[in-house]
Amino acid sequence: MTQLDTNQPYALVMRGIVKRFPGVLANDHVDLALYPGEVHALLGENGAGKSTLMNILSGLYRPDAGQIIINGEPVTFNSPRDAIRRGIGMVHQHFMLVPTLTVAENLILGQDDIGFILDYTALEAKVAELSQKFGLAVDPHAKIWQLSVGEQQRVEILKMLYHGAKILIMDEPTAVLTPQEVEELFKTLREMAAVGHTIIFISHKLDEVLEIADRVTVLRRGKVTAVVDTAHTTKAELARLMVGREVLFRVEKKPANPGNPILEIQNLNAKNDRGLPALRNLSLTVRSGEIVGVAGVAGNGQVELAEVITGLRPAESGKILVHGQDITNKPATAAIDRGVAHIPADRTGVGSAPNLYLDENLIMKSYRHPPISKGWAINLSEAFRQAVQLIKRFDVKTPDVKTPARLLSGGNLQKLILARELSREPEAIIAVYPSRGLDAGATEAVHRRLIDERDRGSAILLISEDLDELLSLADRIVVLYEGQIIGEVPPKDELVDEIGLMMAGTKIQAGD
């Protein structure tokens, strides 16, 4: 534990914070001290205790022990409202905005002292002033649903500033942004820091942490392992502090050796849930033994593409062939039985049944055929036996097989899904955001598995919004924009800017 020098003019001190959940010590005497006007990164794997600490700071949880001192004054928060009054604002990963309301209307939500009649002119003036000051350009009259993800994030930040936040918690703010939008966000954060705001930046992306933060507090298993200046550290050191061992940033892999086409998509058109075109004339071929990466900003048809291929969403027109056999608009079992594995974007909402046990989750794709099925029945002991093996083979950390899936951490749940999907030796794998929200250790495990599957001869379609992941895993990258493939590039680090531009909709010939 580091000793705090209490004579420093800290904007915020969290001292000796302890928070215990049943069976877990989420925060074990954590200290965090922030200067006014600094960007301070909070780095740690999933389950390291970052979210717990920030939930304590934003008034959602009460610590079991420890204290919070703001500008030298000890405070206790009984609710998020108390935290907001003390100038703490949190921008969550999932935005807390009402889509059908305007920007201005969203800003005044949760405000205490609004009168019976709203003074929109004053409100808009204030919004304009704040946007001007920090380069947060948004139209106060626009409805939230009309805004891009980046703009919505700006509204969230504006909301916090409007409520008087001096200490701003940003929970993985870059996860949903294009590289260009990230740059704009960083500019805003710097401007806010320059006028004395304090920013807590939560991330696992080490490059970003090094770029934006002044100092970093690293958490591991509920404890602070280090507080370092970004000027005096390296990516490798941060990773080691975070994971507790050396991490490889580029997965080692042999050159691809593509074979026959396995998955062929021809002139595919499909609609999204709102009935609007999500995929437009999309054609793509994935061969045995290659990983084709699909880059794009979330919401450009990625999830729909995966769903149409796996039979969960109807195609309006076009064809999907697996091994030359047409599975277009066939039931989902057609894809499953032809060996198409699907690692869905939404692990809890689609990929697992939260209250079912691990063995019951593991047989979701295999219960129709022997050895799991036995005529009309399911061979429960065989299912259990396989589950024990798979949990061991795929290193799923769980007390036992008869544990409901909802009690697994994100990384372990993903390992469970991988165990189910990959143990069937799939011909093709549709992996959607396979490492989203996972820590470095779990991400590495996921990547290793995918490379192994590729080398075994599987055809892999990797849909991701993490360019680092695409560059290190994919053998070629296509960019999806508004349901169309607007370009293909080889996975070279120096092409990041081109990919970013294409993700934003600019058609260019890159890399040729």
Binding site: P22, R62, A65, Q67, I69, P74, T76, N78, T310, G311, L312, P331, A332, T333, I336, H342, P344, D346, G349, V350, G351, S352, A353, P354, N355, L356, E360, I363, M364, K365, Y367, R368, S373, W376, A377, I378, L380, L407
Partner: protein, 371 residues
């Protein structure tokens, strides 16, 4: 001081069982107030009810008679509820099942048909009648996303009027709200039929319907636990999107579950006309199909537990008949339902009193201010 409600991560089995017991005791406690408001001594009334329901020589038989339709319809409700398909129209499905069985007994099969064949035909008709009535909301839900809660409930009222049309119209015996009696071959064997062998069965009206329910409960228990279909129901109930992802055809399962659910309720209706009233008549069911919902829920959708709960509720109905004013069992049922739902909330969440400041923090505060 504030009250905070937070979810429990794991609900132990004993806690949910204890919750049920507590709910029933609380219901009896609150019911006691209403009884005394009605001029009864609650303790005396409860003792009277309990004695009549469970302790007298004819109690088991009487209680079984009331428990039989609750058991069959309760199993039907269980099937649908397992996949979170809220079929609350078991009453209507029961009525249509009774109608179909009555039609077969009175107008399709000749009266001299051998008893096993007659009863089998009535059973098939009863099941199919209820099943098709259940299938209507099933199809509407599967194809057009019509809310099954509303459509299944509304169809109950259609079923009541449908039956009334027949018993007051074409099937009426002399213009009264009932049909003529079934031929003897259309009656379920009852205990009193065997009085020559077992003299103690004199006057006992329990019929074979309960055995059918018992068999159905065992079959369902095995299917739920062991079969692919049981697994699919559970998967859909827990996460329909995960079920679709696993290749389960949701629409087909919705229709199948509603078919079977309605079929079992229809069988309850058939068993009631073949075993108790021996004709179709108005108001022959005092809302068995609705009580079945409470039975299924109290039994936590476990078919074997449905047997037990149906028996207890049968006892509640028998006991209620023995005291005045009538309507007591219905009232207690209602209170039990409220208490069970509250107990559910209390087992899944915990209520904490949050003090504005914990002593520990206060101590720290003073320390800091002092330093």
């Amino acid at each position: 001081m504030r009250i905070k409600i937070e979810p429990r991560l794991i609900v132990p089995k004993w806690m949910s069982f204890l919750g049920l017991i507590a709910a029933i005791l609380a219901a009896l406690f609150f019911g006691g107030f209403l009884l005394s408001y009605g001029g009864l001594n609650p303790l005396v009334a409860y003792r009277q009810m309990f004695t009549d329901a469970f302790l007298r020589s004819y109690s088991p038989s009487d209680t079984l008679v009331k428990a039989t339709p609750l058991l069959l319809a309760g199993l039907g409700v269980t099937v649908a509820f397992r996949m979170k398909l809220w079929n609350i129209g078991a009453e209507g499905q029961l009525l249509i099942g009774a109608w179909a069985a009555s039609g077969v007994a009175l107008f399709v099969m000749p009266p001299e048909t051998p008893r096993p064949i007659m009863l089998l035909a009535m059973g098939v008709a009863g099941f199919l009648g209820g099943a098709l009535w259940g299938l209507i909301p099933g199809i509407l839900k599967a194809k057009l996303q019509v809310n099954e809660i509303i459509s299944s409930l509304m169809l109950t009222y259609v079923a009541i009027l449908f039956n009334n049309f027949f018993i007051y119209g074409p099937w009426s015996a002399g213009g009264f709200g009932l049909t003529r009696s079934f031929p003897r071959t259309g009656w379920f064997p009852r205990l009193l039929d065997f009085v020559d062998f077992v003299p103690a069965f004199r006057g006992m009206t329990a019929h074979i319907g309960f055995l059918i329910g018992l068999v159905a409960a065992v079959i369902l228990a095995v299917l739920f636990r062991r079969s692919k279909w049981g697994y699919e129901l559970k998967l859909i109930g827990d996460n329909p999107r995960a079920a679709e992802y696993a290749g389960v055809n949701l629409a087909r399962h919705i229709m199948l579950a509603m078919f079977i659910s309605g079929g079992l309720a229809g069988l309850a209706g058939m068993s009631e006309v073949a075993g108790v009233v021996h004709r179709l008549q108005e108001n022959f069911s005092p809302g068995y199909g609705f009580t079945a919902i409470i039975v299924a829920w109290l039994a936590r959708l476990n078919p074997l537990a449905v047997v037990l709960v149906a028996y207890l509720f049968g006892g509640l109905l028998v006991g209620g008949d023995s005291i005045q004013p009538a309507g007591i069992p219905l009232m207690i049922q209602g209170i039990i339902m409220f208490c069970v739902i509250s107990a559910d909330l209390l087992t899944r969440y915990r209520i904490r009193l949050v003090r504005p400041k914990s002593q520990e923090l206060e101590a720290l505060d003073t320390e800091v201010t002092a330093g």
